[in-house]
């Protein structure tokens, strides 16, 4: 989908209005473009059977990963989910080894062992994706506790969806983090559907953020399609965590353009609902903001998009021409020696 073509649909401006350096806004926009292009082109490649497994698309949720990770340092930790590519890229993972992993190739970031739901980079504090809904949240507490034991001001972020907020792991982790005052952000991207079941069918409470009250920590609902709003909320929560004031639960209201996975017919939701959310597209809104503030020109923004498109295409070309793993490699790394 082209952000430019849909500019007219940008009914809701970005906000709140606060001073963010144009250079920082541009970085966020370019990162969102990278994720958008990555997801678009991977969907296309998957539909042509160019790689095996599944695709859990991040399309539509780009502002969540980018807004939060823009408030983090390289040495902060993130733990993510089966829908983690946005987080990997936003935290700085290199595009080509990540895409090669999606294709299960030998030069993938996990040597083809992980596939679409798993990637990590210790140097960037990326502590992995997960095939288990809610499986990552508990160990985010351990990363945060390492920071406490080291006396550092690092923070950890657990990304998850509203579906995972019904797992016991979420509640156990939030309670521990609150009781121990851990430097941990719980970031719930509420895209309204837990796999194929609407959140309204599995929770009487419509706002996940309100669950924070039960644990005595701040919880905040944020427009997850407004990258500057996400960034502002994350920055404040990160500052609280770094200062020793403990965890925060952020609920980012957003929408998953694709289904649970690529190929899901989405018969459980309406085309009207999809159109409403596409009118609030995070890229279109930031694009409109940049132009309305005269921060950049349409032609420059176009050139960035073309640039990201070309980089993703080149990475996919690399993946297509890369070797599969040597099956004998399956026997290595079972144990650390």
């Amino acid at each position: 989908m082209s952000p430019r073509k849909q500019t007219a649909g940008a009914k809701t401006p970005v906000g709140p209005v606060r001073t963010v350096e144009p250079g920082h806004i541009f970085q966020m926009y370019r990162k969102m473009l990278e994720i958008r292009e990555c997801e678009d082109q991977l969907n296309t490649a998957f539909s042509k059977n160019l790689f095996p497994g599944y695709i859990h698309s991040y399309l539509g949720q780009e502002a969540c990963a980018v807004g939060v990770c823009s408030a983090l340092r390289d040495d902060d930790y993130i733990v993510t989910t089966h829908r983690g590519r946005g987080h990997y890229l936003a935290k700085g993972m290199a595009l080509t080894p990540m895409i090669c992993e999606m294709f299960g190739k030998a030069n993938g970031i996990c040597g083809g062992r992980g596939g679409e739901m798993h990637a990590a980079d210790p140097a960037l504090g990326i502590l992995g994706g997960n095939g288990i809904v809610g499986g990552g949240i508990p160990y985010a507490t351990g990363a945060a506790y390492s920071a406490v034991l080291n006396g550092s001001d690092q923070v950890a972020v657990a990304f998850f969806g509203e579906g995972a907020s019904n797992q016991g792991s979420f509640h156990e982790a939030m309670n521990l983090a609150a009781a121990w005052n851990l430097p941990l952000l719980f970031v719930c991207e509420n895209n309204l559907y837990a796999e194929m079941t609407p959140f309204s069918a599995s929770s009487r409470q419509v706002d996940v953020a309100r669950r924070a009250e039960g644990y005595g920590i701040p919880g905040e609902v944020v427009d997850g399609n407004d990258v500057l709003a996400v960034y502002a909320a994350a920055e404040a929560a990160v500052a609280r965590a770094r200062s020793g004031a403990g965890p925060t639960l952020l609920e980012l209201k957003t929408y998953r353009y694709g289904g649970h996975f690529q190929g899901d017919p989405c018969h459980y939701r309406t085309r009207e609902e999809e159109a409403e959310w596409r009118a609030r597209d995070p890229l279109i809104r930031l694009h409109a903001h940049i132009l309305s503030q005269n921060l950049s020109s349409e032609s420059e923004l176009d050139s960035w998009r073309e640039d990201q498109k070309a980089q993703v295409a080149a990475a996919i070309e690399v993946a297509l021409s890369s070797p599969d793993p040597d099956p004998n490699e399956a026997l290595s790394f079972v144990y650390a020696s």
């Binding site: 733990v79 996990c110 062992r113 990590a120 095939g131 351990g142 990363a143 945060a144």
Partner: protein, 324 residues
């Protein structure tokens, strides 16, 4: 040498390793202020402070998760799950997270964590505190599983487990907590994956774990008076299993009995029998025998445990049958 019981030998091991390496910490239910629900961490809070010896909520999944994340980021956590029966609450973190991180990310993360837990088999505490579930974790690649039967083994194996870069499930036996043994005062380690011959013998190899080691040794005394000398082998580590020591013994004795507190189906007794078949089939004079409790949950009332579990007499009988 100092006389130590099994429980204090474990406390000594953890205390020494915490003093040696500031990255080691202990977290679990009642481990700090209470000194352990069964006294297994007495004195550690005072010695190492509240950040490194920490009480957790009763939240098994996040207790293990705490260890996983801390291990991935450079710490050497010991996380305690009070009874192994509670593993049902935290198996995702053990099986899907801890066990696979090193493999999945090709060694980018090490997972130096100990999951300290306990079986209270034959302690009369009923169906949710008495199970011997080592097969659950022995089946999972990436995990190591330790199950010591003596104070000295407990200490040396715990120190090795803490220094190991893999997730180690360390199963204590509550029924053995008060047994005593002279332990050297100098530092020592016992390597993971190495069985110990608790009693040498020529006639029958008896592989036993945990509480059953002591029952097998008692049976050996009776059998010896009949002229039957059994060789009692304690694997000490369930995974990796020291197959070489077991097979070497069977090649000598040509007969084997495996005795465990765990059930037969898919369990350690069956695995040891299969390993002997794989490596020493033609050395066997008779089929490998397995002596275990029947395939039932553990009921509470007096008399049930004695009825269900192998004892000295049933081990003697099983050995006599192999010799017949």
């Amino acid at each position: 040498m100092t006389m130590k019981n099994y429980c204090w030998a474990l406390i000594d091991a953890i205390n020494e390793e915490m003093a040696r390496d500031p990255d080691v910490f202990l977290a679990g239910e009642d481990v700090a202020a209470a000194g352990g629900a069964f006294g297994g961490s007495r004195g550690l809070l005072a010695a190492h402070g509240p950040l490194r010896v920490r009480d957790t909520p009763i939240s098994e999944e996040v207790i293990v998760g705490l260890g996983v994340g801390a291990a991935m980021t450079g710490k050497r956590p010991i996380v305690e799950i009070m009874f192994m029966d509670f593993f049902g609450l935290c198996m995702d973190q053990i099986v899907n997270q801890a066990a696979k991180m090193h493999y999945l990310y090709q060694g980018a993360f090490k997972m130096p964590m100990v999951i300290r837990t306990m079986t209270a088999v034959e302690m009369g505490i009923g169906p949710h505190h008495s199970q011997s579930l080592e097969a659950w974790v022995g089946h999972v690649p990436g995990l190591k599983v330790v199950m010591p039967s003596t104070p000295r083994d407990a200490k040396g194996l715990m120190k090795s487990a803490i220094r190991d870069d893999n997730p180690v499930v360390f199963i204590e036996n509550l029924a053995l907590h008060k047994i005593k043994e002279d332990i050297e005062d100098e530092e020592f380690l016992i390597p993971l994956g190495k069985a110990d011959i608790k009693r040498a013998g020529r006639d029958v190899t008896v592989v036993a774990t945990g509480l059953m080691v002591h029952k097998a040794l008692a049976a050996a005394e009776i059998l010896s008076q009949e002229g039957i000398e059994i060789e009692v082998i304690d694997p000490r580590t369930i995974s990796p299993l020291d197959v070489d020591t077991i097979v070497a013994s069977v090649r000598k004795t040509n007969r084997a009995l495996v005795v465990t507190s765990a059930h037969k189906p898919f369990g350690l007794a069956s695995e040891v029998a299969a390993q002997i078949m794989d490596h020493a089939f033609y050395d066997l004079d008779v089929p490998v025998a397995r002596l275990t409790p029947p395939f039932t949950p553990q009921p509470f009332g007096k008399g049930f445990e004695a009825f269900l579990h192998p004892d000295k007499a049933s081990i003697v009988a099983a050995v006599r049958e192999l010799m017949a």
